[in-house]
Amino acid sequence: MTDINHAESLQQRQDKRFIQKETRTAAKYLRRLKELPGAPEGMEPFYRTLERIYVEMEPVEKEAGQKTIGTYCVMTPPELIYAAGAVPVKLCSGNYTAFSIGDSIAPRDACPLVKAVAGFQQTGLMPIYKDCSMMVIPVTCDCKKKIAGMLSDHCGVMTIHIPASREDEDLEEYIRQLYDLMARLEQTTGNPISYESLAQGFRKVGYAQYELSEFIRLKKQMPYLIRGSHAMAILNSSAYMPADVWGKALHRVNLSLKQNLSEKKTVTSKKLPRILLTGSPIVFPNIKIPLLIEEMGGIVAGDETCMGERGLWDPAVITDDSFDGMIRALANRSLRPCPCPTFADNSQRIFRLKQLIKENQIQGVIYHVLRGCLVYDHEYKRIENELGQLGIPVIRLESDYNEEDIEQLRIRIEAFIELIKLKQAPEKPAAVRRSF
């Protein structure tokens, strides 16, 4: 009996320690985000969401009786989940404490994102994971493939086979899987997906996407109206907020940005090196890289990561307004424009990067590779060569979910920013101060 009590108290102490460490890291990064100057008005709902999920460890906000469906990739259409009356929540995690727990469960060479997921699943302390009635895992890489097997022991899991190419027959196959997903969602939630409910799902996500496109248009302004780290906080919080609520909150930010634009209130008057961030996803609280870039005097002007702008950017285009037409629109949106390296031929990622470089007047690219994320690492050389021809410098930053490499990353980022500064035309000297 004493042994059992002792084991229980040991477990409780371990859980308490986990919660303390987890919340402390999240709170620290949230504080750094808040301290970063130049945030527009209206950021509070996004900070509050991240705080609620990672610091207060609360579940996502939803209506009573509504179910939560966990997803692991942008290739799971949220419209279908909304249509089934459930709330989607992206479970990809950037948590350092969960990563350290997952490190002893998942293989050493697995990517940190998957280790963090395994860690959260093991501890069972994170409400967003506990709450999930079902998890949808698109098989985009080896780690996701194997984690699907591991998670299926704990929760209902549905895998989606992402085809290696985007041919018509691949699209048909994906459409069939979406119909399967629909059936599973109906079974899990008990709500049938009707034409009207699916249209409602489209409206919710469409509204959020409209606001996002407006936000990105404002973000492109020169001089800058918002910092990339703040933009990333906004985009990361979309994983834990219903699309319509998130869209409304973003609308307020857009209004504030528009006002700032008319009043010429910019983040800084200095000409900061404009950096494009691409590669492995950047998930809160692992936002050390965008924070370091902006603390070192650069600005994250473009973001091609799947937890960033890419996640919600492409709208579903309905050309046939039947039910099947809407499902086809979802499949088209998920596969055709997606520059995810899961596709065997991913040359459109290069076009997308070139487009982003042109639109955002990018001066340098930081290629983020999470340790063990082989698919992104594989594409680095090709992108370095392509961008080299355009005269855009690229550096590959490999990192993990811990803070041990921060100083090394800082030095590399600082040197990269210096390099860009040396290339750019010198700023006009400020007028000589004649009196105090």
Partner: protein, 421 residues
């Protein structure tokens, strides 16, 4: 014998490794005359510069070659296995790429290698490296045919999907060879390949436990040699001759010493010329009872004579269904084929320990380790995880660990004898 001329080729690391492995296999099995044919073929595969360029190149072993043969092509496999060829791909792949994919990429880009510019590459997408390798091949202007293996066997449409993939492959290969795929050609190829796989199984069964006649490394090499020979019939004929010789020798000579502890070699496949692990196993006083990996498990994908009936499309569907059920490549969410076979094997054959071989970067095996450990623990079988790559620098560390494992298994034997008495 061509084997005597090997030293002239020992110029770089590929040649060195290739020839050293061949030399050791030859010296360890010098009494077996029938095995020399396999050595000669392996030598030809690597050094015959006059061989014609292959029409179809198969990357890895996870491709149903029966359909390639039925489409009129002579399969030319590149399955990896060499440290030397890894060096040729150093600048082409990321640091963490697994050695098998590295080695395959190296072979394709071998500086003085065969001209593969006009060949069709068939790439099974069983892992991330293969996926990206396909991208590289396509970008360099080569003809590529992808086989997208459905990752979830529980998917009710998995067989349909896979059938579609295999049909597309047949189409691509027959376009390359300009040969029609007919019901007759598919059935004939299924029959040929079934015979070869049955021979593989019989060879492994007959040669098991006869280390005094054929070493474990040589057993694995003979299976690997199948992928270096253009004609399965020829391989079968010579393997049958070898089986006869082993049976004859085992009948005329008896081993009087106690047999070494029998271990199962599970996980990443051992591919020639990197025979580091089987050499170490035998040096440490262990015997490989079975090598269970996706290369050896192919021997279970056979077809009965009844399965050869039906239309062409029906036969392709049967091939797809059979492959999905028995394929143990790391392409699946759960590698149930491998798991089920291991659990059957340990129940029915003597296995005193398991060496779980993980090649660095092949994390799929690492993900499954816990599941295997739990199952094997129920049978009281110790599992020893051995992680390595194709480098030879860790040989001495591995040797120490392997010897300790061997000693532990020997001590267990004594304990059991003591307990019984």
């Amino acid at each position: 014998m061509k084997h005597q001329h090997l030293s002239s080729h020992q110029t770089d690391s590929f040649d060195k490794e290739y020839c050293e492995s061949l030399n050791r296999l030859y010296n360890d099995n010098i009494r077996l005359s029938e095995i020399r044919w396999f050595f000669n073929r392996a030598y030809d595969w690597a050094y015959d510069t006059e061989a014609p360029s292959p029409e179809v190149v198969l990357l890895g072993t996870a491709i149903p070659e029966e359909l390639v043969i039925a489409s009129g092509a002579v399969p030319y496999w590149i399955i990896g296995g060499s440290l030397g060829s890894c060096a040729w791909s150093d600048d082409l792949v990321p640091r963490d790429t697994d050695p098998v994919s590295r080695s395959i990429t190296g072979y394709i880009n071998r500086p003085d290698g065969m001209d593969l510019s006009d060949s069709l590459f068939v790439v099974p997408l069983m892992n991330d490296s293969m996926r990206k390798m396909a991208y590289d091949l396509k970008s360099s202007g080569r003809k590529v045919c992808l086989i997208d293996i459905p990752p979830d066997r529980k998917d009710p449409y998995a067989v349909e999907k896979y059938t579609g993939q295999l049909k597309a492959m047949c189409e691509a290969v027959s376009k390359q060879t300009k040969t029609r795929v007919t019901r007759k050609s598919v059935a004939a190829a299924m029959k040929t390949v079934s015979h070869a796989r049955n021979t593989m199984r019989r060879f492994m069964e007959v040669s098991r436990g006869h280390q005094d006649i054929i070493t474990d490394a040589a057993r694995l090499f003979v299976i690997n040699a199948y992928y270096m020979i253009s004609s399965p019939e020829e391989w079968c004929y010579h393997t049958e001759c070898l089986i006869n010789e082993i049976e004859y020798r085992s009948g005329t000579s008896k081993q009087f010493t106690q047999k070494d502890p029998a271990v199962m070699l599970l996980g990443s496949p051992v591919l020639f010329p990197n025979e580091k692990i089987p050499f170490l196993v035998s040096d440490s006083g262990l015997m490989i009872s079975e090598a269970v990996d996706y290369v050896s498990m192919k021997s279970f994908v056979t077809y009965s004579s009844r399965a050869l009936w039906g239309s062409r499309d029906r036969l392709i569907r049967k091939i797809a269904a059979r492959w999905l059920a028995y394929d143990s490549a790391p392409a699946f969410v759960r590698n149930d084929a491998l798991y089920d076979y291991v659990s059957w094997f340990v129940r029915n054959r003597k296995t005193e320990g398991v060496i779980y071989h993980v090649l660095k970067g092949q994390i799929e095996y690492d993900f499954e380790l816990e599941r295997f450990e739990t199952m094997l623990a129920q049978y009281g079988i110790p599992v020893f995880r051995l992680e390595t790559d194709y480098q030879y620098q860790d040989v001495e560390q591995l040797r120490i660990r392997m010897e300790a494992f061997s000693e532990m298994l020997t001590q267990r034997r004594y304990r059991e004898v003591k307990k019984a008495s």
